[in-house]
């Protein structure tokens, strides 16, 4: 008997029809409940396995990185002293700034509002550099909005369903956003780069960029607020003949382990 007349082929056709229905529901924005079931069903097992695996991994990781941690500790201690001094200067400048604003009758800009969200799925196979969060249109989330965690930009919303949304992480090669070097105000474009993290591109050749400079959002895109931290300049990549300067950025965020994020509104 030919395969297309068998019960197996009929079953296969039913499976394909189910896929078509689920895809249609997802495209129309009604896929939230199905997505929630498939994302939440393995969560108890994942949490149990993770709670066993994490301490073991942390132990071996700590042993492996012991020398690095000691060196880092010395560096960070000296950095703390420097930052304390800077903080004192900053407080002084803030007070002066407030006094001057009062004198000039300066109108304060509206503060950003952030919606707290929880990561539902963290892309276990590392296929798309995306994150699914539990906030959607019902929470005022729309496509294009910036997403932050610990004060750093981590991505932007690329799909907003009714109860959940997809965040494109800053490390994705499909991500791009305006940015500027905090110390000099030179503007460029931040892009993700597969395998090598984050790149600050399209800086003019006359721009002054040094290792350790902070890079923040420029605020040209109204959906991503100005002055959100993106990262620190790691190394400058530029040849004399290049049209633009390029630099790698280092972010302290562990993009593979995002638990809570905030959507800028």
């Amino acid at each position: 008997m030919r395969f297309i007349y068998t019960k197996a082929f009929a079953f296969f056709s039913v499976c394909v029809a189910i896929v078509a229905i689920v895809t249609f529901l997802e495209a129309k924005g009604y896929g939230g409940p199905i997505q929630a079931v498939f994302i939440n069903a393995p969560r108890p097992v994942a949490a149990a396995v993770s709670s066993l695996a994490r301490p073991v991994r942390n132990f071996f990781s700590t042993v492996y990185n012991l020398k690095k941690i000691t060196d880092q500790n010395v560096q960070l201690t000296s950095q703390v002293y420097q930052l304390q001094q800077q903080l004192a200067d900053f407080n002084q400048a803030t007070r002066e700034n407030q006094d001057l604003k009062q004198e000039l009758g300066f109108v304060a800009g509206a503060k950003n509002q952030f919606t707290p969200c929880t990561a539902l799925a963290q892309n276990p196979l590392g296929l798309t550099d995306t994150l699914i969060i539990n906030c959607g249109q019902d929470n005022g989330v729309t496509e294009g909005q910036g997403v932050i965690t610990q004060g750093y930009l981590v991505g932007k919303i690329i799909y907003a369903g009714k109860t959940s949304s997809t965040v494109l992480l800053i490390t994705s090669s499909q991500f791009s956003s305006d940015a500027l070097v905090s110390s000099t105000g030179d503007s460029g474009v931040v892009e993700g780069s597969f395998g090598s993290g984050i790149i600050l591109d399209q800086l003019s050749q006359s721009a002054v960029v040094n290792k350790g400079d902070l890079v923040v959002t420029a605020g040209i895109n109204p959906q991503i607020p100005k002055n959100l931290l993106i990262g620190q300049v790691g190394s400058v990549l530029s040849a004399p003949g290049d049209l633009f300067k390029k630099a790698t950025l280092v972010s302290p965020i562990d993009f593979s382990n995002l638990q809570f994020v905030f959507v800028a509104q």
């Binding site: 079953f11 689920v22 097992v45 296929l127 550099d129 995306t130 494109l168």
Partner: protein, 177 residues
């Protein structure tokens, strides 16, 4: 009843995939346990079971990774169909290790490429927001194949054990792993 057993096994595997393998990366690659379970189920020569497992595993992979729904589900279903047809027609004797290795390598390459193709087409037509990164092919495929080959036999054994447990519950004869 048998579908409930498959569902429980797949949920446990999806949980292990999410909870354990982010800590056990091999040069940046992680194995796809659900794909290996689909391969193992296809080698049991039960078409309906294999298609059901492929459907569920594909939906889990698509929805958990935020890719266009259908990318992996259709790839897994087509893989199950191909393996069923090839094994049913070409492999007349008992399955051996060579078939398992060949099926695993073919499955990783076939589903990876097809899922990327479907997700890229979905983005092109405006049905999806994010496609699977094509650089994955360049940077992770050899590691992924190697990792999958290490785990293919345990997952095949799990599929056989699940299949035999179902047969036992139904009071039928079953095979030894």
């Amino acid at each position: 009843m048998k579908y409930v057993i498959y569902l429980i096994v797949i949920i446990i595997l999806a949980g292990i995939q999410t909870g354990l393998f982010p800590y056990l990366k091999f040069f940046g690659a992680v194995p796809d346990l659900l794909l290996l379970f689909v391969v193992g189920s296809c080698l049991q020569r039960e078409a309906e079971d294999a298609f059901f497992v492929a459907l569920l595993c594909g939906l889990f992979v698509d929805l958990q990774n935020g890719v266009f729904v259908g990318s992996y589900t259709l790839s897994f279903l087509l893989l199950a169909l191909l393996l069923y047809l090839v094994i049913g027609r070409l492999v007349v004797f008992e399955l051996n290790f060579k078939y398992l290795v060949a099926a695993t390598v073919a499955a990783v390459v076939f589903t990876g490429f097809l899922a990327w193709l479907i997700s890229a087409a979905a983005v092109h037509f405006g049905w999806a927001a994010a496609a699977i990164d094509p650089h994955i092919w360049r940077s992770r495929l050899p590691q992924e194949i190697a990792y999958s080959l290490i785990l293919c036999y345990p997952l095949y054994s799990l599929a056989t054990w699940t299949h035999n447990s179902i047969l036992k519950l139904q009071g039928k004869k079953y095979r030894i792993i």
